[in-house]
């Protein structure tokens, strides 16, 4: 698969005077393949949300190159029309859905994106219906968004992005404000966007168990890529994660703690089943 996102050595500072010593991003090079499911981790202020905002041109880098598909969005002759094309391809879902809902009726809100793209009316209708169905909110089409729960609002925000038919959706801590059921629902939608609709998913999160569902994990720390790899590769390096204020999922942390207590458990155990298996096997005496 070709890369849908490529960044080469990008830097970004929020303000001139602070910026010189304290860039939010300080030379980040990452690439994401079309159809990939990537989690981005990093402590508050690490630069991960800044990276997301650069990828759909809410922010523009100070230096470096960003390519979205075949577009080099940092090129000097990149036009405003090109920008709209990029935003159509890379959608973003924010932490607080209230910041993202604009209309007073759910289906009008979902139609807002495609309307602005100048899509014909009949096609908008189809897209809105399909998007609402994909997030399981068809029956709420005529409801008022502000009367929905947080999880339901977040689904509407996602439907609004899906109706623009993007190739990539970036979730910027989109589950942070949700209750456990709401969070499970949004994660199921992320999985289905990726697996069934072949949409590239970037999930920026503080929840390590969410990252464990991704194909690849990128850890950003102090404006640079600190490590990346499969969840198993990244979470096996528990000490390095702790060093930057992060942690592994609870099951992996349990194995690591028991290893430190001297038990012969395998390093780099990631995932619920793998961890339970390792512990059950050691108990039964078949550890080796």
């Amino acid at each position: 698969m070709e890369n849908i996102i490529e960044t080469e050595n990008i830097t970004f500072s929020y303000s001139e005077e602070r910026g010189k010593q304290n860039p939010a991003l300080d030379g980040v090079s990452v690439s994401v393949r079309e159809g990939e499911y990537v989690a981005i981790l990093g402590h508050n202020g690490s630069g991960k949300s800044t990276l997301a905002k650069l990828l759909n041109m809410i922010l523009v880098p100070d230096s470096g190159v960003i390519r979205i598909g075949s577009d080099e969005i940092t090129s000097p002759n990149f036009s405003e029309d090109d920008m709209f094309r990029v935003r159509r391809n890379v959608g973003m879902v924010f932490q607080n859905p209230d910041n993202q809902l604009v209309a007073t009726v759910v289906e009008e809100d979902v139609a807002f994106g495609p309307e602005n793209l100048g899509i014909p009316r009949e096609e908008i209708r189809q897209r809105v219906d399909a998007a609402l169905e994909a997030v399981g909110m068809t029956e709420y089409a005529k409801h008022a968004p502000h009367r929905l729960s947080g999880g339901q609002k977040q689904r509407i925000a996602i439907a609004g992005i899906m109706a623009m038919m993007p190739r990539c959706v970036i979730f910027d801590e989109a589950t942070a404000m949700l209750d456990p059921a709401g969070r499970r629902g949004i994660l199921a939608i992320m999985d289905s966007l990726n697996h069934e609709h072949s949409i590239t998913v970037l999930n920026i999160t503080h929840h390590m168990d969410e990252a464990a569902r991704a194909d690849r994990v990128i850890v950003i720390n102090d404006g640079v890529v600190y490590m990346q790899g499969t969840p198993a590769e990244v979470f096996a390096r528990v000490d390095e994660l702790h060093a930057v204020g992060l942690e592994a999922p609870q099951d992996t942390e349990l194995i690591e703690l028991l290893r430190r207590m001297g038990l012969p458990l395998p390093a780099g155990c990631v995932g619920f089943n793998a961890c339970v298996d390792a512990l059950a096997r050691l108990y039964e005496g078949g550890a080796r």
Partner: protein, 298 residues
């Protein structure tokens, strides 16, 4: 011994309008003195309504809210005093910072309580210390702080009132794992040192297991479950039926038990499960926990 108690409290939003919605329906619950109680419930279960009833931001439609056995609405004109005794930290409290310096911001409530300058200063220092904000930050603008520091400054502003009960609505929302530990660990230390009763609202079952003594679970306008952390999290199925959950690590423990590993004790935190697993191994394999030596001897 309870410090705050709701007796048959109901609250209705938009009463008499087409949008009438019952938020709490004859809820009776009491909060124990000197412990941390976690308040959980799905979105719309009535948590935020309950929290606002506790310090008199909302007035029950029926029923009573008792603080130390006295109805907080006995003298409605003095409800402001209740708000000093039951401090409420709302969600994303950093948006409420406003003063020129961190010191002035934290001292805002104590100043309004009519305390002397020295007393205000003492309380500001104490509160800043509880949340881990260094002396050097006190004269900065609150807007120059990082997100996590702003959050802590806002919490300190409520602690500085020295409330009898400190209520916090999702104090760790949106923070990274270290930030969560700093805020919640700090709260626990504050609770243990000051003896203040703490009520903590959170969606994170992991945090509840780690930092709370008791849990009250709401579901659809009613109290669904209450008890110690152990008691509540032993009802995994019931919790997930109402959109809640048990900590991820507790699922690991349940699965291990199904595989025949006899675990007992606190199975809701990583440390608890590790200790229980270690003990189970020791009991099975003799005095060493199935390390290399243990197996060789066997």
């Amino acid at each position: 011994m309870s410090i705050l108690e709701l007796r048959e409290v109901s609250y209705v939003y938009g009463e008499g309008t087409p949008f009438e919605k019952i938020a709490l329906d004859r809820v009776s619950v009491s909060f124990e003195r000197g412990v941390i109680t976690g308040l959980i419930g799905h979105t719309g279960s009535g948590k935020s309504t309950l929290v606002q009833l506790l310090n008199g931001l909302l007035r029950p439609r029926s029923g009573t809210v008792l603080l130390d056995g006295v109805d907080i609405w006995e003298k409605p004109k003095e409800i402001g005093k209740i708000r000093h005794r039951v401090g409420l930290v709302m969600q994303y409290p950093e948006y409420q910072l406003f003063d020129e310096t961190v010191r002035a911001d934290i001292g805002f409530a104590p100043r309004n309580m009519g305390l002397s300058t020295d007393e205000v200063e003492a309380r500001v220092r104490e509160a800043a210390d509880f949340v881990g904000l260094g002396e050097e930050l006190l004269d900065q603008s609150p807007f120059a702080l990082s997100g996590g520091q702003k959050r802590r400054a806002a919490i300190a502003g409520i602690m500085a009132m020295r409330p009898d009960v400190l209520v916090l609505d999702e104090p760790a929302a949106g923070l990274d794992p270290l930030g969560r530990r700093e805020i919640l660990g700090g709260l626990r230390k504050y609770q243990r040192t000051s003896g203040t009763t703490v009520i903590l609202v959170s969606h994170s079952m992991e945090d509840m297991a780690e930092y709370c003594d008791r849990i009250v679970a709401l579901n659809h306008t009613k109290v669904f479950m209450e008890g110690s952390v152990d008691e509540v999290f032993s009802h995994a199925r019931e919790l997930s039926e109402v959109g809640l959950d048990i900590p991820h690590i507790a699922r690991v423990a349940l699965e291990l038990q199904k595989c025949g590993v006899p675990l007992s004790g606190n199975l809701y935190t990583i440390e608890g499960v590790a200790v229980a697993y270690h003990r189970a191994l020791v009991e099975k394999n003799g005095h060493t926990a199935s390390g290399e030596e243990g197996n060789d001897r066997a």
